[in-house]
Amino acid sequence: MRAVPGGPFDKDKVLPPEIKANIEAKYHLNESITKQYLRYMAGLVRGDLGPSYKYLSRTVNDILADSFPVSLTLGLLALALSLALGLPAGILSAVIRSGWAEGAFLFLTTLGISLPTFVLGSLLVLGFSMALFLLPPALWEGWRYAVLPVITLGILPASYIARYTRTSCLDVLSKEFILSARAKGLEESAVVLKHVLKNSLTSVVSITGPIAAGLVSGSFLVEYIFSIPGMGKHFVQAVSNRDYPLIMGTTLIYTILIVAANILVDIAYGLLDPRIREKQ
């Protein structure tokens, strides 16, 4: 990463060499790469992610402590929205076997998958904030500020969840135990709620890992569009500013987050599906 031309302290104005030397000494940029690396790793072990090169008085730890809760809230709300939209839509479209409903479902989910996050976000801003003056277009100061970002972030995963749910529901519906449940006289709603829902839920849980990764990608765009002071916005800015410690810090937190999400999914998977529990 350091091999890239252009450094955090390259400015339009040429700095006097003494000042440049002082800055480099403060951030240890005058030492060898190996020594810088060892210094960084030693800090990491103590939980210290180093200073930010751009925000002079703040450390990476400070910035992340402020921005992580914001991004986490945004991500969890969007996940909740996408589940609330995607699961019922997927189940309903599998149960209602009419050509019209199927066509509408496929059309809407393809739309949701093909609409870039930033296009959706800016259209929402244009409509709800600039034309109707209903909701604030930016910042993060209360629930009203969360509505548009959460919708923008949630639509894409909602479409994926809906499609996946539909496929796995259709799969379950063709199984023999559904036939026997119907044969013993269960009401159709009971068949769906008791048997289909439970069985298709496990397969939806299995894609939560990729969904979480997608939410992180989407949060870069959403936090940029709505000027939300979260980790995604800091990451994008840090890349533009070549603020290496901040890039490293955010990347590290994202990786930990994704690994944690995948472990949780594995545990949930085992709890939901007895076949997997018994295998271990």
Binding site: F118, S122, V216, S217, L221
Partner: protein, 264 residues
């Protein structure tokens, strides 16, 4: 093929590619020409889709932007399919512990947020067309590798592969001569579905200002410029946004159509 959306998409994409190829002839104005009398003009009149903050004709810039977006999409998707094809075929054919390790590596890349990895790679590759393509393909090959591996696992149990092995063909020859030609259909579907994914990623990257840099412009970077002037000049964002959306939609429909046609 009786798939109407698929056919419509195919026609749309063909027209789009033609207008991208003949952009210099079709554009009403040269790409960089500034009309000092019509800065930030609204759509209509002499400039059909309006002009940007430097007085450049938006329709012309969109046509040239189509070149960048489509070339990046096609090039990255092709590279991704090639890498994924070799990786998946080798992994699937060798099998056993090697396969296990190779696929864990794929899982690791797959689990990470794609935009995060693309941005990190592009810091290193630079933000020219080649750098962006490289970053995009180094991330999006993993999906292809999984699909091809699955196909190879199925095909290598077939009788004709066993016959080739009995005749003493080398593993490489079996992979390239006998197995991979049989995955051609799957590869075509993978390619058609990779292209919209890559265009999607590139436009997101450029929208954040981390992708294609001026003076070159893709649809994503046009949308980035439009975003900065959204409040009073929404046309600058709406038109590139619609272009990206329609193209991605068409490729998705085409890919699904192909998928159904091959599945039978």
């Amino acid at each position: 093929m009786r798939n109407i959306p698929g056919l419509v998409s195919l026609v749309f994409l063909a027209l789009l590619s033609l207008s991208a190829i003949f952009a210099p002839i079709l554009s009403p104005f040269p790409y960089g020409a500034q009309d000092q009398g019509a800065i930030l003009a609204s759509p209509g009149g002499q400039h059909l889709l309006g002009t940007d903050m430097l007085g450049r004709d938006l329709l012309s810039r969109l046509l040239y932007g189509a070149r960048v977006s489509l070339v990046v999409g096609l090039l990255s998707a092709l590279t991704a399919v090639f890498i994924g094809m070799f990786y998946g075929a080798v992994s699937g054919y060798i099998g056993g512990r090697v396969d296990n390790w190779m696929m864990r590596f794929v899982d690791a890349i797959y689990a990470l947020p794609d935009l995060l990895v693309i941005i990190l790679i592009s810091i290193w590759t630079g933000q020219g067309i080649v750098g962006i393509c490289l970053a995009l393909s180094l991330v999006s090959w993993v999906g292809v590798a999984r699909v091809i591996r699955g196909e190879v696992l199925k095909l290598k149990e077939e009788a004709f592969v066993e016959a080739a092995r009995a005749m003493g063909s080398s593993p490489l020859r079996i992979i390239f001569q006998h197995i991979l030609p049989n995955t051609l259909g799957v590869l075509m579907v993978a390619l058609t579905l990779r292209i919209p994914a890559v265009i999607f990623a590139e436009s997101s990257l450029s929208f954040l200002g981390l992708g294609i840099q001026p003076p070159m412009a893709s649809w994503g970077s046009l949308a980035h410029e439009g975003w900065l002037a959204l409040r009073f000049y929404p046309h600058l964002l709406v038109f590139p946004g619609v272009a990206i959306f329609l193209t991605v939609l068409a490729f998705n429909y085409l890919g699904e159509g192909l998928h159904e046609a091959i599945q039978g």
